[in-house]
Symmetry: C2
Subunit: 250 residues, 2 copies
Amino acid sequence: MSLTACLIVIGNEVLSGRTQDANTVFIAKRLGEIGLPLREVRVIPDIADTIISTVNEMRARYDHVFTTGGIGPTHDDITSECIAAAFGVPWEKEPAVWARMEAYYPPGGFNAARQRMATMPRGAVIIDNGHIAPGYSIGNVHVMAGVPSIMRQMFEALIPRLPAGDPVISRSVHATGLPEGDIAAGLTEVQARYPSLDIGSYPYFREGQGPGVAIVAKGTNPAEAERAIAEVAALFRSLGSEPLAGEPPP
Amino acid sequence: MSLTACLIVIGNEVLSGRTQDANTVFIAKRLGEIGLPLREVRVIPDIADTIISTVNEMRARYDHVFTTGGIGPTHDDITSECIAAAFGVPWEKEPAVWARMEAYYPPGGFNAARQRMATMPRGAVIIDNGHIAPGYSIGNVHVMAGVPSIMRQMFEALIPRLPAGDPVISRSVHATGLPEGDIAAGLTEVQARYPSLDIGSYPYFREGQGPGVAIVAKGTNPAEAERAIAEVAALFRSLGSEPLAGEPPP
C-alpha cells in the first residue's frame, strides 16, 4: 500500500466563490510525480473549531497532510494557532524566524501582526524557501501559504523532506465524434484486465464535431498503461473512430 | 442560524490534478446569491465506500448537500449506486427517464451503459434541465453531473426547489503599494466592530508596484458592509495609501 496524502484548503474566500483555488491542481500533480498520491481535499472556513478538528481527523487518517492558507498577518489568518491547538502544544515565538523578520523590516515594521507570522506551534520545523515568513511542518502536517506563487516555493522546498514512492504516470488517447456511452462496455473490460490501473473516461464537446471522449490510464507501471491505452485505441477503431494520441487540446 | 450547504466533488481526475475543478466557484457564488452559504467542500475519489460514508456524514451535518461527478455511463461513474446505498434504498429503473432515453437514442443506442444513467435511487426526484440524462435530488442530497456546462444547467433547474435565505453580498476596497502587515491591526478593529460581517484580507502582488491588499466584507446587510469598507478606506488613507474601489483587476 503506497503512502497517502490529503490537502486541507483553509479559507472563506474559496467557499464564497471569490477565489478559484489553484493550489489543488499543483499539489496533486507534484504529489503524483513523487509517488505520494493525493486521496482527499477538504475546503474549510476560517473557523478555529473546524480547522482543529479537521487537522486532527486528517493527520490520523493520512500519512501526510498539507494545508494551504491562513498563515498571513491579519485577523482571518488563524491556521497556526489552530495547528498548535490540534497538536496540544504551545503557540510560541520561533526564535530564528523572529530574529530574521525583526532584521528584515525597518524599525517599527515588525509589528504585532507580523510577529504572528514568527509565532508557531512548538516543534515546528521550518520550510525554508527564502520567503521572509516561512511555512513549516509539525509531525505529518505541512503548513503552507495560500497565495499560489508562495505556496509553490514552499512546496518545492518541502519536497526533499517527503518520502518518495513510485511516480504516478498517465497515458491517454481520445477520439472526436465518439460518445462516451458507445465505449463504456468495452472500456469496462479493459479496466477489468488492468486492475492496478485507474482508467478514467472524460467526455468532451467540440462545437460542430459532436461529442468526444478522452481515456486516461494512471498507474505506476508505464508499460502496463501503454498496453491498456493500446487496447482502448483498438476499441475506438472497432467502433469506426480514429484514435488520437494523448488528450484533446483544451 | 441560516441554512448551510456543502459540496462533494467526486472524481479521481480532480485528485490527480488532471482536471481543474470549476464547479466549486460557480456553486459557491450561486449559493451565496440565494442565501444558502457553502460551508465545506470535499473532493473524494471514485471509491464506493468513500462516497457512501462521505454522503452520509455530510447529509447529517448540513442542510443541503450537492454532489458533482460520477453520473455518466462508464465504469468509473458510480455515484448513483453509492447514493442509493447511502440512503439504503434500491437502485432501480427510473421509468420516465428510461422511457425518454429509450426514445431518444437510435435502435441499440440505449445500451447497458446508458441504461445506468436511467437507473436511480428509489425516491429520486429528477432535476429536469432538458439534458437527456438528468440529475436528481433525494432527501437533502442533490446529485449533478461533473461536466461544468451540464452541471450549471442542472443547478439552475434545481434552484426553484431550494430554500432561499438572505443573499450574501460583498463590498470591497483595495490599495496598491500597501503591505497586508501594515493594516492588520486596524483591520482587526474594523472586524471587531462588525461581528456579523466576514471581513477577508487578500494580499496581491503587481510587478513593479510592490505588494497590495484587497479587503472584502461579506454579509447579508449591504449598508453595514458599505460602512465597514468605508472604515477600511479611511484606514488606508491614514496610512498614506489611496483606497481604490472594489477589487483589483486580475
